[in-house]
Symmetry: C2
Subunit: 328 residues, 2 copies
């Protein structure tokens, strides 16, 4: 692996003043239901409500540290990365412009603006992407990509890095996988801190480009916008940098929409947290993996974020899953 | 006041091994919106998901301490008090029977059973109340009431007691008011620890028996089951013990259902927490009170619980309130 534990440690040092060391949550009831111990790194309580703050802040801090301070930062995103870059730029007093598709959740657009970034809305994702490319041409402008970037990866890896210092003897780590930034960073941290621990990625079955890529040995792209509630994992393809790390995972899970809704309801209920559907995928993967284990396991899961809009909330709670207790 | 700070301190000592000292939450964005500082004592992260664990545990621990150990504990409740008594009884190895109406949320019935209590369901609240009265006749059986009891009040008061040690210079405290146990205990703690701080109670306008009682100077009873999403404040009347404390509040607010839904959505969104609609009432009262203040205030609010079932969740999120940013 190109990046190692030292790179994560450096990222951690850079971001400490600007992000939270989020708490570890657990549920006695869930542990009783499953017969194992599950620890949740609660990045929904992170700045901007998602782990993305880590990668954003680390990248901007690294630019300054290496004498590359830009006079303008740009990014394109419909989601948490938009807020992360706006937040990061603000911490270092650098003007930021974030290009977002009009269909982005109003709540995320508002929040991005409230961190002081200029938000430019476009009709489609394609126009958004075109505009950021143009803006990035300007001298002194730095484009912070959402995942395919060493410093973004190292920033995201600090969540699992911290968790290993908060909980001892972790047997396995599960993270949701969109573009692969969080999963890659978590892999580096896990391999560096606990070579015996297993590390798994998880994706929605309806947006399984990473799983397909791993099966075929080359990066596969989704053919159209996927139909999944896990909006944080709707990325069309992983990156060439992140793909190299994904190949080294101990396994990869694809989760259907029913299971995703089921665990969004149950984790919300048990942990009393606001949880994006994207975070509920790893929980189903954990349940499936635990069924193959003969001894009691200690599992770490990253709750990646808590930014959910009203239409998504209604979809999540359409049917009542809380009447069916989780089964081993 | 009959009870004082010493009684709360004793309760705190009793319950320490069995309940969480819950964290204080805050939202930078909310504080910016309102121009003041709001601190939330997060009792949704308490054992059983609500402050009620405090009163339940304190009462049972006090029975043991004073040589009154019962051989059977009973309670009647459709909600968090059922779970609290089940949890408390389990901690001291005392068998418990909880009488609940059939229409109680399945999630709360399940949870009460999972704490080891026998749950007996009845068609109506009246039959439930009749059954607990009969059960309580048996020698050696103790009936833990939901609010009108010194030790229940002192237990509930420990939440605000802790909060005053977690946050300094609080100007005002707001709590939701159902039967008045939390509000009474909070008043005792507030007066004892910070005589200059104001203390307010808050009720749904559609279940405003306490406000009516305060206006008329005698305990008023609701004429029928109230139509409010704040199920934690649907109590038909306050008790003779709690009423004496409620009379000493600095003010009392009645909140309509629209504002209640608005703040349930916004606090869920900003704090990334699962929040009962009951807890959102004080937030609207805080906004109203802050409008009358000329200087920056530091306000404490108790998030009373996080147990919400699926039908209630759907009602809360029926319309999108997140598009309207909170106004001063």
């Amino acid at each position: 692996m190109k990046l190692g534990l030292k790179d994560i440690e450096k990222a951690k040092e850079r971001i400490v003043p600007f992000v939270h060391n989020t708490p570890i949550l657990s549920s006695t009831l869930l542990n009783e239901y499953l017969g194992h111990e599950i620890f949740f790194k609660a990045e929904n309580f992170q700045k901007i409500g998602a782990f993305k703050a880590r990668g954003g802040v680390n990248t901007v801090a690294w630019l300054l540290e290496t004498g590359q301070k830009p006079n303008h930062i740009v990014a394109n995103s419909s989601g948490n990365h938009a807020q992360a870059v706006a937040y990061a730029a603000k911490q270092f007093g650098i003007p930021a412009t974030v290009f977002m598709p009009e269909y982005s959740s109003k709540v995320k657009i508002q929040a991005t603006r409230s961190y002081g970034a200029e938000v430019i809305l476009s009709k489609t994702r394609d126009i958004t992407d075109q505009k950021v490319r143009e803006a990035a041409q300007k001298k002194g402008t730095y484009w912070v990509p959402p995942f395919n970037h060493d410093q973004v990866i190292c920033g995201q890896g600090t969540a699992v890095y911290e968790a290993f210092h908060q909980v001892k003897d972790i047997d396995a780590v599960f993270t949701p996988c969109g573009g692969g930034g969080l999963t890659s960073g978590s892999l580096i941290a896990t391999r560096g801190l606990s070579p015996k621990a297993k590390m798994f990625g998880v994706e929605p079955l309806n947006a399984n480009d990473a799983a397909e890529s791993l099966r075929k040995g080359s990066i596969q792209r989704l053919s159209g916008i996927p139909d999944t509630l896990a909006d944080g994992a709707m990325t069309m393809a992983v990156g060439d940098i992140t793909f190299e790390y994904l190949k080294q995972l101990d396994g990869f899970y694809e989760i259907n929409e029913d299971d995703l809704v089921y665990w969004t309801q149950w984790l919300t209920h048990l942990l009393k947290c606001r949880i994006e559907p994207t975070c509920a995928m790893p929980m189903e993967a954990i349940r499936q993996w635990l069924r193959t284990q003969k001894t009691k396991q200690r599992v770490l899961m990253v709750i990646s974020g808590g930014n959910v809009d009203q239409p998504t909330t209604l979809k999540i709670w359409e049917n009542d899953c809380l009447t069916q207790i989780p089964q081993r």
